[in-house]
């Protein structure tokens, strides 16, 4: 295997929404200074991460008559208090600028009669989001100072004395190992999917809402390097269209659909309107025998159904295929009739873009590892980010990373250290091993089944108790051990081994977090059956660090807006 050495001033891991935007901001802010900005991306930036298929709206925007604090209040309420006020406020302050910047890149945004953005509620603007990622990618590619390494899977940090030195990556299609050195690193690898058994396992296992290629790499690298993580136990469960797993928001907020049970009763107000309560309500209705729950749109005029189909083609095309198939099966033109879509909860994700799980960062988005910053769905404490919030965070992280990088001198070219050699040798072992009893697929299935049954997945109605979590933890350890004996016939298979191992690392921390929170603050996202309801003592963060191979839980007091949080211990 070849070894390629690449040095950067700013190294960005993951070229998704946050990664691309961080690169653009850093490039613009340092124009003419000769800085080297490198993005390392496992896919290709034109279609990668959450935005690969397109998105339906910009979900975070401060509409007319509202202010950033309103957004903070909304996000705090939705997360039942477990948010970082400092992070939310600085993110909210950057939302509208992000949206304007997207429009400047060519994103089509719907306007009202006065020329302002047509709003869907006070926080959403309507767009054509099909080409949002190609637009971002084109802007990145136009920057001379940005180099994009693609089909490169980052799998480990290089850290010394709690300070980042760079990262190690492997080619996905080429037999190359990358030794990436940098003054500052921004982690933007997104959230984590595929930890739990999905709604349709087997052949359809990747029909999941969150991108299955976002595997928690950034989290795992951080955990193994001793970074502090926060709120992983606030998992995200999405309510999505059954089968296609397409977002339901377009139907609910856009087309005014009502969510009802099989008796035709609108049930939402019984359970409450936070994201977690909506999921909880749907699950309860089903458990109590009033399923399936559907989103129903009664009054669709002629042509409106076609518009709905188009909106879905722009972000989740399979849902439109499904509708057309249904129409054909019903044998009639249903253009003017009502429309009902069954909804269900997904498997849980770790997703700092919707909930609060991810890296514990200071107010400037620096993690507890010096010189390592985090933005987007991988960063914790600041839920309800969506596209524009991920960008706002990326802008903050880019500014901070530039400031940090200025003070750091890269050592002259040196032979890769011991930790690099260990990572390189491990990969070589996977590639050269003559045979293995188990496959990645088998171990992944076992991991997902274990999490599903014992760590609050779909099968257990998102519920768990201590004894189950202990079993889950034990099995994750065993599977981690077994994964060390896997075999990779080529580089694509090596990628798969890393993806599995990342998920296992994150699962272990997630289980520890679920156990540490002695309450059930977000019932739709998970319930600890021994600790029902919220506890007053629960109003604090559950954080963790891997120390000497064991996970140490750290409880921290809430940080509110107006405070500037710095790492001190």
């Amino acid at each position: 295997m070849d070894i390629r050495h690449i040095d950067a001033d700013i190294l960005i891991l993951g070229g998704g929404t946050a990664g691309c935007w961080a690169a653009l901001c850093a490039a613009r802010a340092s124009a003419g200074k000769g800085l080297r900005i490198v993005i390392a991306e496992k896919a290709r930036i034109e279609r990668s991460g959450c935005l690969a298929a397109g998105v339906n709206a910009i979900n975070a925007y401060i509409g007319e008559g509202r202010c950033p604090q309103d957004y903070v209040d909304y996000a705090r309420k939705d997360a039942a208090g477990i948010v970082r006020g400092d992070l939310l406020l600085s993110m909210a302050e950057g939302l509208n600028e992000s949206v304007r910047a997207l429009e400047a890149l060519g994103l089509v945004i719907l306007k009202d009669e006065t020329g302002g953005y047509a709003q869907r509620g006070w926080r959403n603007v309507k767009i054509n989001g099909e080409n949002i990622k190609p637009l971002l990618a084109a802007a990145v590619r136009a920057q001379d100072s940005v180099t994009v390494l693609e089909r490169v899977n980052v799998c480990s940090y290089l850290v010394e004395d709690d300070t980042i030195l760079g990262a190690v990556a492997f080619g996905v299609t080429e037999k190359v190992c990358y030794a990436l050195r940098a003054r500052a690193v921004i982690c933007a690898t997104g959230g984590a999917a595929g930890l739990y058994r999905p709604n349709s396992p087997g052949f359809a296992r990747h029909s999941m809402w969150y991108p299955p290629f976002n595997t928690g790499a950034g989290h795992a690298m951080g955990i193994l390097a001793g970074a502090e993580m926060t709120s992983l136990e606030m998992r995200f469960v999405a309510l999505r269209c059954k089968g296609s797993v397409a977002p339901a928001g377009t139907l609910a907020q856009g087309a005014g659909a009502r969510q009802m049970n099989s008796l035709g009763q609108v049930y939402e107000h019984v359970y409450g309107l936070t994201t977690a309560q909506r999921v909880y309500g749907t699950r309860q209705e089903e458990l109590e025998g009033r399923g399936p729950c559907v989103l129903r749109v009664d009054a669709l005029g002629p042509g409106e159904r076609e518009d709905l189909y188009k909106a879905y083609l722009n972000m989740a095309p399979l849902q439109t295929l499904r509708w057309v198939e249904e129409e054909a099966a019903a044998g009639e033109d249903m253009n003017a009739s009502s429309l009902g879509v069954a909804v269900e909860g997904t498997e849980p994700y770790v997703n700092g873009g919707h909930t609060a799980g991810g890296y514990w960062v200071d107010s400037r988005r620096q993690t507890s590892i010096r010189g390592l910053f985090a933005a987007g769905d991988v960063a914790g404490g600041s839920p309800q980010k969506y596209v524009s919030g991920a960008m706002a965070e990326a802008a903050i992280a880019a500014t901070a990373a530039l400031g940090y990088a200025r003070e750091v001198v890269l050592p002259a070219q040196e032979a890769p250290g011991a930790s690099f050699a260990a990572i390189f040798n491990e990969a070589r072992d996977f590639l050269e091993r003559p045979g293995a009893l188990f496959t990645v697929e088998q171990l992944e299935e076992a991991m997902q089944q274990n999490m599903d049954e014992y760590a609050g997945g779909i099968a257990s109605g998102y519920r768990y108790n201590d004894a189950q979590l202990d079993r889950a933890e034990e099995r994750v350890r065993e599977l981690t051990h077994l994964s060390g004996g896997l075999r990779a016939p080529d580089m694509r298979d090596l990628l798969r081994i890393y993806e599995l191992r990342e998920r296992l690392v994150l699962c272990r921390s997630l289980i520890a977090h679920l156990k540490a929170r002695r309450e059930s603050r977000w019932p739709g996202f998970g319930e600890h059956t021994q600790c029902p309801g919220s506890a007053a003592s629960g109003l604090r963060y559950v954080n963790s660090r891997l120390e000497k191979g064991e996970i140490r839980i750290i409880f921290r007091d809430l940080v509110s807006e107006g405070e500037c949080y710095e790492h001190s211990d």
Partner: protein, 104 residues
């Protein structure tokens, strides 16, 4: 959920291989595109939209309610024509203009 690639229509240009976010597509011995990990497809349709020959179609897995329909895409300037072919031989085209925002 996954895709099918019609071998007769594929000219081996490699666009779909380059674009797939999961690196699931490879060139086969004849230089044509093939999905190496069919069960790992996320149905994002990036490959479908990238293929100028209309050789790639998306379908729903039976476990996700699929009924055998195929979804292809053809680009014409700013317009993306989505063509749905149903098992009974009927077709339906829905054309989306990139320049107009979602109504919903």
């Amino acid at each position: 959920m996954s895709i099918v690639i019609e071998q007769e229509s594929c000219n081996g240009c490699g666009r779909c291989l380059a674009v797939c976010p999961g690196a699931l597509l490879c060139a086969n011995a004849k230089g044509r595109a093939e999905i190496r990990y069919p069960a790992d497809c996320w149905s994002c349709a990036a490959c479908v939209k990238s293929c100028a020959r209309g050789a790639i179609a998306l379908y729903s897995a039976p476990a996700c309610g699929g009924r055998g329909g195929l979804l292809r895409a053809r680009r014409e300037g700013e317009i993306l024509h989505w063509v749905i072919s149903l098992p009974d031989g009927t077709q339906r085209t829905i054309s989306v203009d990139r320049r107009s925002a979602n109504r919903y």
